[in-house]
């Protein structure tokens, strides 16, 4: 082939006009198809010379004089050998698939771009983005680029295969033979270079030592290259192993290894190195800032569970004016301590049977938590009645304050009972021979069995001395009492009945007088009875009137009757008719004449429009406002020595009077011990803390004590059921026996995560979550 004389193809026509690239290509293809295997092209900038010559089927040699255009040897085939006598333009060897290309001058930008096979030798330097996007197909030998001089910028971008050799001989930039930012995106191949360079993409490539096998290849290739470019004399200069370096692509694994400096390292050495230990605020706080998990224990809990046994009043206790902790009594019953449950009442009231069992409308039951879920409240009546059997407690010897109680009704007896129980020297002064006030003298026997009341009054009389006054107290008497006693307690009640001021007013009998006489059977009311004032006292009158033979009983009122409860039921049972609004004009011998001139026939007309306190005996030091004595929360009047309680102060239930007595007694006990009186300020437990789900709503109300006790929700009062222990996910709760029927539940902070399950499950609402004490 070398011996064959080349066919010369001119890049210009006879007139020197440049042939179009298309025409030159046609000439070349024709020649080769015609059997020519050695061509000399006198190029004039034509595009793509030397590619696509597969049809020859055997080697074709192309020598190029003049100036080849862009993409010399593109789509080159392995049978093609190209030699450019001068320099080449851009993209030489573009998508080269096997041609060998020898360039005696420089090659422009993009040399070997996308080359997959073949070899390109450049005797000068190559432009930017050379050896970029090169490939390696395992079916063929890898492509090679040999450059005597240097590479332009962005050399080897996205190089995926092949070998490039940059000899660095007379480089364009002596300080950098590989140009600006070489090897960006390199994923395969090798670059051998000789001479200085200014960095490469560390993320993609790495410098490796030249292996022996590579060095042998390099030496051999260098020798061939120098012969081809006719500079064999450089071999000894260039072939110095220490002068050569090799760049190769990082594997994906290696790329991961080149991750940035760890933040932990930066924090320790740079951040804290500059700021000091503890970083940004290490000087301001010694709080631990180390990371913690979402679920924490111990000090790091945001909340802590607290066993709030008896911290709050149960609704029954809280609404009982006397303040009896009913729920504790039911607990004693559940525990089988029946006697204690019964006896306990006497620490709160001297009349557990009379009042709780009979006379009281039982606000405790009205407030019972069970009612909030349409469940029958726990019935207190049986427990009240059972308390008749309560043992009279042994009171301590008298040693305390000397107290005179004026008035032997429920309020007076209550305060005296409580004071005596604390060892104070107390005496009751009353106008009656027998204590008991209206409970004894006015309330009909139909409502309270006489033996019950008598028994409880006897219990009182056993303990409290009683002076029968026989006459009303005067202001002077009170002054005298004051000098003889540490405290006086006025509890004379509402003893002065209100009378109707209408024409014929003298025909009325007051309810107080009526009931007193009725109880003594000293009255015959006749057939027709009209009761003016349809409250509960009026109802009592109606019931008694019926008992004494009345047939037509009418209760009239100017407004909707206020009567309620047992009293009203009894009156209705007695056939009493309630009428309202009725405005009384006059009382006549025939009956009650209304404003509308209707006459309601009456043999007896009873005025049941309330009783008033008698206040005229009070010393001037006791301030009275609008018919009422001014007292503080525990019954003390403006005269520090004098207290006033019960209906004196404001009318209420018997239990109100008993409760007032308790509070006053407590205050006096506090004062005796040199303390400021302290009232029970505990709040009532919030309803939603109690879980009635534990009770069957279909269980009908029970009457026996055991049945009642079992259905009590024990609001705010730990029933020792152990549900909290069972429900705690961390087994942090345990029961602690404190002896003497006493216990507590405790939380191990090391195990507790403050989930609040204990509070959520507690039937009694004893557990609660409290915010932890703030840190920092």
């Amino acid at each position: 082939m070398q011996n064959t004389k080349p066919l010369i193809i001119e890049g210009r026509d006879s007139e020197g006009i440049r042939l179009e690239s298309r025409l030159l290509e046609e000439h070349i293809q024709e020649a080769v198809n015609g059997g020519v295997r050695h061509l000399e092209i006198r190029a004039a900038g034509q595009h793509g010379i030397g590619g696509r010559l597969w049809q020859a089927g055997e080697p074709v040699k192309i020598r190029i004089e003049g100036t080849p255009g862009q993409r010399l040897g593109s789509f080159g085939y392995p049978n093609t050998e190209i030699e450019v006598m001068g320099s080449a333009s851009e993209d030489t060897g573009w998508l080269n698939a096997g041609a060998t290309i020898l360039i005696h001058g420089n090659a422009g930008n993009g040399t070997c771009n996308g080359m997959a096979q073949g070899k390109v030798w450049v005797a000068g330097s190559v432009g930017s983005r050379s050896m970029t996007m090169t490939k390696r197909n395992p079916r063929f030998e890898p492509p090679e680029l040999w450059v005597l001089g240097s590479a332009g910028d962005f050399f080897g971008e996205f190089m995926a295969g092949g070998k490039a050799v940059i000899c660095g001989w007379q480089p364009q930039n002596p300080a950098n033979v590989l140009g600006h930012r070489p090897m960006v995106g390199m994923v395969g191949g090798q670059v051998f270079f000789r001479g200085p360079m200014d960095g490469f993409s560390q993320a993609d490539a790495r410098m490796v030592p030249i292996e022996e096998e590579d060095w042998i290849w390099l030496k051999k290739g260098l020798s061939d290259f120098l012969l081809k470019i006719q500079k064999p004399e450089l071999y000894d200069i260039l072939c110095v192993r220490e002068d050569w370096q090799c760049l190769t692509a990082r594997s994906p694994m290696e790329k991961r290894e080149t991750e940035r400096r760890s933040m932990a390292d930066f924090r320790k050495n740079m951040w804290e190195g500059e700021l000091g230990k503890g970083g940004l605020i290490g000087d301001l706080t010694d709080l631990d800032m180390s990371p913690i998990p979402l679920i924490t224990r111990g000090e790091l809990r945001r909340f802590v569970p607290v066993w709030e046994n008896r911290k709050y009043k149960a609704p029954c206790e809280g609404t009982c004016p006397t303040g009896i902790p009913v729920q504790q009594r039911w607990q004693l019953i559940r525990e089988g301590r029946m006697d204690e449950a019964v006896d306990m009442a006497l620490s709160y009231t001297p009349f557990p049977a009379t009042v709780c069992g009979y006379l009281c409308p039982n606000p405790c039951m009205g407030a019972c938590t069970r009612s909030s879920a349409f469940m029958a409240p726990v019935d207190i009546k049986p427990l009240g009645k059972a308390s008749l059997a309560a043992l009279t407690p042994v009171f301590p010897a008298i040693k305390g304050r000397k107290v005179a109680v004026v008035g032997g009704g429920p309020a007076g007896i209550s305060v005296a009972w409580q004071l005596r129980s604390q060892g104070h020297d107390v005496v009751i002064l009353d106008r009656s021979e027998v204590l008991g006030g209206k409970m004894r003298s006015v309330i009909p026997e139909s409502r309270i069995p006489q033996e019950v009341l008598t028994k409880e009054l006897e219990r009182v009389a056993e303990i409290i001395p009683h002076i029968h006054l026989k006459q009303s107290l005067t202001r002077k008497d009170v002054e005298r009492l004051k000098t003889d006693h540490d405290h006086i307690i006025i509890a004379t009640g509402a003893s002065s009945p209100r009378r109707l001021a209408v024409e014929g007013g003298e025909r009325q009998i007051t309810s107080l007088d009526f009931l007193e006489q009725a109880k003594a059977n000293a009255l015959k009311p006749g057939k027709n009875v009209v009761i003016i004032g349809a409250g509960n006292v009026g109802c009592d009158v109606a019931t008694e009137a019926k008992r004494l033979g009345a047939e037509n009983i009418t209760l009239i009122d100017i407004q909707k009757p206020a009567a309620f409860g047992v009293e009203r039921e009894e009156a209705e049972k007695a056939g009493a008719v309630f009428r309202w609004p009725c405005f009384t004009k006059a009382l006549t011998k025939d009956g009650v004449l209304l404003e509308n001139d209707e006459l309601i026939p009456a043999d007896t007309i009873v005025a049941a429009i309330g009783d008033m306190a008698v206040l005229d005996f009070l010393p001037e030091t006791v301030v009275v406002e609008k018919g009422r004595i001014r007292v503080n929360e525990y019954g003390q009047t403006t005269d520090a020595k004098i207290f006033a309680i019960g209906d004196m102060v404001g009318q209420g239930l018997i239990t109100d009077a008993i409760g007032a007595g308790r509070r006053t007694a407590q205050a006096i006990c506090d004062m005796a011990e040199g303390r400021l009186p302290e009232m029970d300020t505990r709040e009532i437990l919030k309803l939603e803390r109690v879980h009635l789900e534990y009770f069957d709503p279909r269980i009908p109300p029970k009457e026996d004590l055991g049945g009642c006790g079992s259905q009590c929700a024990s609001c705010g009062n730990c029933r020792d059921c152990g549900i909290c222990v069972a429900v705690c996910p961390g087994a942090a709760i345990s029961r602690k026996d404190l002896g003497k029927n006493s216990f507590s539940y405790e939380v191990d902070a090391k195990l507790c995560i403050a989930c609040g399950f204990c509070a959520g499950a507690c039937p009694c609402g004893v557990w609660d979550l409290h915010p932890a004490v703030p840190i920092g």
Partner: protein, 544 residues
């Protein structure tokens, strides 16, 4: 509520709540994690009575009724304990048994979040998922017309300038005549907006600062972070890291004595001083740090008593006119560092922004203007301020920029835009849109919280309890029991991640435009929007 209970107007059932807890009895193991982690105690252990009625076929046996007890997780319905949808319960549940579900149908809670006559205040965002910035497209794709660049392999210079940029001739004249040239900083165009030490937890704040320091020192990115109004820890003030920090002064002046004391000991000048006049999320309102978050540490840094709420006045108190406000504050703050530090105001976007800007153009010491749009976030504000007050950033910024163009100062006074940048996760696209509309850079806060620390807030009113210190991720809490959940180091790593990713995305947007050597500030011919009126208003192309 109890069967016999009485309802009150604010009695709500679970169906009325915006977030409902779905709980699966079969999967639940009653481990207590969900109730332990719930930040607002919205769930509790419930006791349930289960009734079973049995009757035999043919009624051969006597039918019976029996009751049993079971336990489960119950959602509380009181407005005070309403679920906020944070889903921390799902996060801790080992069995995927629980999750909050958004109830869009009948949210009645919104009518009852004013108990005691106190309107709702909260942290978070505007709760409006839409956003004009997300609609803007980059329509100029230069495949062949301009040099086509490759975001991955080309080098890009995307830094921007903060400071009064004078023409060389003017600058030299300034230097010659006044012996002073305005200071200018070359910074990265994505600035972490002002979030105070106090609003953010110590771990969050440290994480952000550490991440910024890393970006500067390890990655060579001149990222800057603004302190917000709450002072600056003394150590940071005395460190070399201060140069990455923009110190904010706002109407509360919290912590400025510490800064003044540190000036003589500063190794570096701060990057700049931002004078906060307004905040996009709650224009017309000052800062508000609720008492929950004012613990000993915060109180010390701010120089206030512990456990008091710290409202900042809505305006700087001793300034009564725009001229005075701007001139007096810029003068003072410039003077503090010998006129070496750029000083610029930050305002809420408002229909009066132009007045401020025009004033700044006449003030040689003004280094720029930051404008914060309505979509900005906040740690605490009244619901009504957050939802209904404020001006969108896009048109406000555009008006300001075009006004600068009109007076020929568009290259002189840099505008920084904020408020909703990246609100739906499109940080780079939103930033690029604002830059091409005329911003020299953008400020962002919410995106950072979400990406760097996993903030759970969403535009559907999820979580948003930053104000009461119960942030379940420990981002906006001062309780170590909560903020120690957040590891400053991990936050810093995420800051680095998000900046590197942003940088790549920004280049992906800039490369097709053929821009690599400078930010395309004001290059609005590259923008298009599928909304005719918006296009007209913003002076960008309407594309359909």
């Amino acid at each position: 509520m109890s069967a016999n209970g009485q309802i009150i107007p604010s009695s709500l059932s679970i169906s009325d709540l915006p977030w409902q807890i779905r709980w699966d009895q079969d999967k639940c193991t009653l481990c207590g994690s969900c109730t332990a982690v719930c930040p607002v105690n919205a769930i509790e252990l419930g006791v349930f009575r289960k009734r079973e009625i049995t009757a035999g076929l043919g009624l051969a046996e006597k039918p019976s009724s029996s009751q049993s007890i079971r336990y489960g997780i119950r959602q509380r319905t009181s407005p005070a304990y309403a679920c906020v949808g944070c889903a921390m319960c799902s996060m801790v549940c080992p069995n995927d048994a629980i999750s909050p579900v958004r109830n869009d149908g009948s949210d009645k809670l919104r009518y009852h979040i004013n108990q005691g006559g106190q309107p709702r205040s909260r942290g978070g965002r505007r709760n409006d998922p839409s956003g004009l910035l997300d609609q803007i497209k980059f329509i100029r794709i230069s495949m062949l017309t301009d040099p086509a660049l490759d975001a991955g392999r080309h080098t890009f210079d995307v830094n921007t300038l903060l400071g009064r940029v004078l023409e060389p001739r003017d600058a030299l004249k300034h230097q010659r005549e006044h012996g002073w040239m305005p200071p200018v900083r070359e910074i990265y165009p994505l600035v972490i907006g002002g979030m105070s030490f106090g609003a953010l937890s110590p771990t969050m704040w440290e994480g952000l600062q550490m991440g910024v320091a890393y970006l500067n020192e390890e990655m060579g990115m001149p990222v800057r972070i603004c302190t917000g109004e709450g002072g600056c820890p003394p150590r940071l003030l005395r460190s070399r890291f201060l140069k990455y920090v923009i110190l904010q002064i706002a109407s509360g002046y919290f912590g400025w004595d510490e800064i003044i004391h540190a000036i003589p000991e500063m190794k570096e000048d701060p990057c700049a001083i931002e004078i906060k006049y307004g905040q996009g999320a709650k224009p017309g309102d000052g800062g508000l740090l609720m008492w929950h978050k004012v613990n000993r540490l915060i109180a010390a840094i701010r120089g206030v008593p512990e456990r008091v709420s710290l409202p900042s006045p809505p305006t700087h108190q001793t300034q009564y006119s725009i001229e005075e406000s701007v001139a007096k504050m810029i003068q003072s703050m410039s003077m503090a560092w010998g006129f070496r530090v750029p000083v610029y105001p930050k305002i809420s976007a408002t229909s009066t922004s132009l007045a401020v800007l025009n004033n700044l153009t006449r003030n040689p010491y003004a280094a720029g203007l930051a404008i914060d749009g309505e979509d900005g976030g906040t740690g605490a504000a009244y619901n009504v301020s957050m939802n209904h007050m404020g001006h969108p950033i896009a048109s406000n910024l555009r008006d300001c920029y075009l006004n600068l163009v009109k007076v020929g100062k568009q290259n002189e006074i840099p505008l920084f835009a904020g408020g909703g940048v990246g609100k739906n996760g499109n940080l780079a696209a939103n930033a690029a849109a604002l830059i091409m509309m005329g911003a020299s850079g953008v400020q962002t806060g919410k995106y950072i919280m979400q990406a760097a620390a996993g903030c759970l807030g969403s535009e559907q009113d999820r979580c948003n309890i930053c104000n009461i210190g119960l942030c379940p991720k420990g981002i906006a809490s001062q309780d170590p029991r909560i903020y120690r959940r957040l590891d400053a180091e991990k936050v810093a790593e995420r800051v680095v991640d998000l900046y590197l990713a942003f940088d790549m995305e920004l280049r992906k947007i800039l490369a097709p435009l053929g821009r690599s050597t400078s930010l395309p500030i004001g290059m609005s011919d590259a923008l298009g929007i599928n909304d005719y009126h918006a296009a007209e208003r913003l002076g960008i192309r309407y594309v359909v």
